[in-house]
């Protein structure tokens, strides 16, 4: 009897752990509904607005998937993501003159190189992840500004190849679902689908593969992981490579969105992704959380942004509310973890 109660409590706790973030999301959804029924905001409850919300956070979601692996492995965050995004975008635009596919391949190669360097230095040499990726961010920024001399480059001025430009523009704008099914209801863009696919893939890797299990072990207890025969260096390094992979996808998407390759593409995506990940229930200590939670965190940010925009809060002042909610959510989750005896700060 006693044992079953404990078990039930454990099941409940793990349910809250995984889906608790959706309760918060639900709260903001209800907040939007209440605000609309009071007549403060309009158009919150509509299918098109919902798609709009997801569309707006899809880029963040894509980047957050890879970054989540780094957080999960107990290495806080990959702060080199912003300039990785910028560099891959610029390289892609520059290489468009050789066609669409070479552009994508070159961008991928450059992004993977940054990921590999991070993997070796943080994984193998065990440098402090925050400081190292910050330094890489700076070096990459310097490289971009040295080579491209502060210039922004536009696909149109790089090449006359209309086909390649159209394909590149399509990365962000392609409406896959409505094209496939001819359904107006599924009026979503490619990044949203990419985000959802990556989320599912990420969740699969985390929970169903041996790499995911090794990552969990490494994130929870690095020493124990090493002594049980896990190649900790490889696992941590792989997390950084995965972060680079999603940064490449994010970089191509944001460059396609803005139609310009520039050093400032991607600015802020490092901290924004961390916010989404941590709200989504992944703790910085590592080894805890899930991709489902991260998706919830991304959705919460989407809801907050949308409600504040509908309320007419100026974009730049929205940070205030976002930051406050961030601190409150993290505080509550730290407290609840402590009361469950799972404190690890």
């Amino acid at each position: 009897m006693e044992q079953s109660r404990v078990l039930r409590f454990g099941a409940f706790a793990s349910f809250i752990n995984v889906f608790g973030v959706y309760l918060i999301a639900l709260f903001f959804l209800l907040l939007g509904v209440v605000l609309q029924s009071l007549g403060v905001i309009q158009n919150f409850i509509s299918w098109s607005n919902f798609l709009n919300i997801i569309d707006n956070v899809s880029l963040l979601g894509i980047v957050a998937v890879g970054m989540a692996f780094v957080t999960y492995s107990g290495n806080y965050a990959d702060l080199s993501v912003p300039t990785t995004m910028a560099l891959t975008g610029i390289v892609a635009v520059e290489m468009l003159k050789y066609g669409f596919l070479p552009a994508i391949l070159a961008a991928t190669a450059v992004g993977l190189l940054i990921g590999l360097i991070n993997a070796i230095v943080v994984g193998k040499l065990k440098a402090n992840p925050i400081i190292w990726t910050l330094a890489v961010n700076y070096v990459t920024l310097g490289v971009i500004r040295l080579v491209w001399a502060n210039k922004q480059i536009y696909p149109e001025t790089i090449t006359d190849n209309k086909e390649a430009i159209a394909l590149f523009d399509g990365i962000f704008r392609h409406e896959l679902a409505s094209n496939l099914f001819g359904n107006e209801l599924l009026d979503i863009r490619l990044p949203t689908i990419l985000m959802l696919v990556l989320m599912v893939l990420g969740q699969f890797i985390l929970t169903k593969t041996s790499f995911g299990a090794q990552l969990k072990m490494t994130g929870s207890a690095k020493k124990a992981a090493r002594f049980s025969g896990i190649n900790v260096e490889y696992v941590v390094g792989m997390a950084f490579v995965l972060a680079a992979v999603t940064a490449i996808i994010g970089g191509l998407t944001i460059t396609s969105l803005s139609r310009v390759g520039a050093y400032y593409n991607g600015t802020g995506y490092d901290f924004r992704a961390v916010t989404a990940i941590v709200i989504g229930g992944m703790t910085l200590a590592g080894g805890r959380g899930s991709m489902i939670g991260v998706l919830g965190g991304v959705l919460i940010i989407g809801f907050i942004n949308n409600i504040m925009t509908l309320l007419g809060v100026p974009t730049l002042s929205q940070d205030m509310i976002r930051g406050l909610i961030f601190i409150i959510v993290v505080g509550i989750s730290a407290k609840s973890l402590r009361s469950l005896g799972r404190d690890d700060s």
């Binding site: 440098a127 400081i131 961390v274 205030m320 930051g323 406050l324 961030f326 993290v330 505080g331 700060s345």
Partner: protein
């Protein structure tokens, strides 16, 4: 026996060099610039350097103390901006005599909140200060409506002129205030029990607690000091330029982090010092100044800053990596066996 002794001497020297590496870096950069950079070695340029580094040097004091405690404060950049805006924005209502203390107190208050969240709510300092940074960013835009504040009254200019008055070669009052703060902080950190508590807490929190140190209070105090010095640096800079822009402190965060790490303060805590950070900031400032004097652009500056930070982090990581590989081994014995 006779062969082993000079070897230990050598490694002793090497570790001492490593401990004081920032002074060597400083001298190398200074001599290089003095010899090769055009128009480097003249009073006007040297004063420019000291004036430019004054703000970051001031901010670096508190940031180093937080790092010594093994924590991180990402909010300093926005505290700098906020202090400038409070100091200048409230001047027309209450005058500098009240607005400047208010700005500094605001900085301390933000530090207090950071400290309380880190110690009492037990949230990772990276997350806490990331949150306060975001909140402050929004607050700054909310309060100012996105506009910079510029003062053009005679008394504001009088204060500005006073702060940039060349009282001594290379020294203006603002530089002097910074220097005094650095010296006080360094003395307290190195010479008093109160100061050494920060090292104890950063080195090993549980040991420090067992030794009877109130670890929570020490960490809170470190964050308060960080907020305070960031606010002092920001408000003084804003007063001297009679203007508070919204990106006053944007670049300072990365700059101060780099300087602190290059200066030898470990992010794991328990190591480092304010004076090392100060020298590192001077070295970086001289380097940047030289880059500009050589006629190279801002982009070279950014690239070099990143490269130096990367090299220092890489060097440190590699040293620890090598140390961990050989830890527990006794190379002298191995060598004797091989012989």
């Amino acid at each position: 026996m006779t062969t082993a002794k000079p070897k230990t001497d050598l490694s002793g020297i090497l570790s001492r060099i490593d401990k004081h590496r920032i002074y060597i870096i400083f001298v190398v950069i200074f001599v290089f610039m003095a010899l090769f950079a055009p128009k480097f070695f003249n009073p006007f340029n040297l004063t420019t350097i000291t004036k430019t580094m004054a703000m970051t040097a001031c901010v670096g004091i508190g940031f180093t103390i937080v790092m010594i405690c093994g924590q991180l404060d990402l909010s300093i950049g926005t505290v700098i901006t906020l202090a400038g805006i409070i100091g200048l924005g409230l001047k027309q209502y209450v005058g500098y005599e009240l607005s400047v203390p208010l700005a500094i107190v605001a900085g301390s208050f933000i530090g207090l909140i950071n400290g309380l969240l880190v110690t009492k709510a037990k949230i990772n300092s990276f997350i806490v200060t990331l949150g306060t940074m975001t909140v402050l960013q929004g607050l700054i835009y909310f309060v100012t409506g996105g506009n910079s504040i510029a003062l053009s009254t005679p008394d504001a200019f009088a204060v500005s002129d006073f702060l940039s008055w060349k009282m001594m070669p290379m020294i203006t009052p603002r530089v002097l205030i910074t220097l005094v703060l650095v010296i006080i902080a360094q003395t307290v950190l190195a010479r008093t029990r109160f100061g050494r508590n920060f090292y104890m807490v950063g080195g090993n929190k549980s040991t420090a607690w067992l030794a009877g140190i109130n670890t929570d209070r020490t960490i809170i105090l470190a964050f308060v000091l960080s907020g305070t010095t960031a606010a002092i640096g920001g408000v003084l800079f804003a007063m001297e330029s009679s203007a508070a822009t919204l990106n006053l402190g944007t670049n300072s965060l990365m700059y101060v982090i780099s300087a602190t790490i290059i200066g030898g303060t470990a992010m794991s805590g328990g190591k480092g010092g304010v004076i090392q950070t100060f020298v590192a900031i001077m070295a970086l400032e001289i380097l940047y100044d030289g880059v500009i004097l050589f006629g190279l652009g801002n982009e070279v500056k950014i690239f070099l800053a990143g490269l130096i930070l990367a090299l220092v982090v890489l060097y440190e990581a590699f040293a620890i990596y090598k140390h961990e590989k050989t830890v527990g081994q006794r190379p002298e014995l191995l060598k004797e066996l091989q012989r």
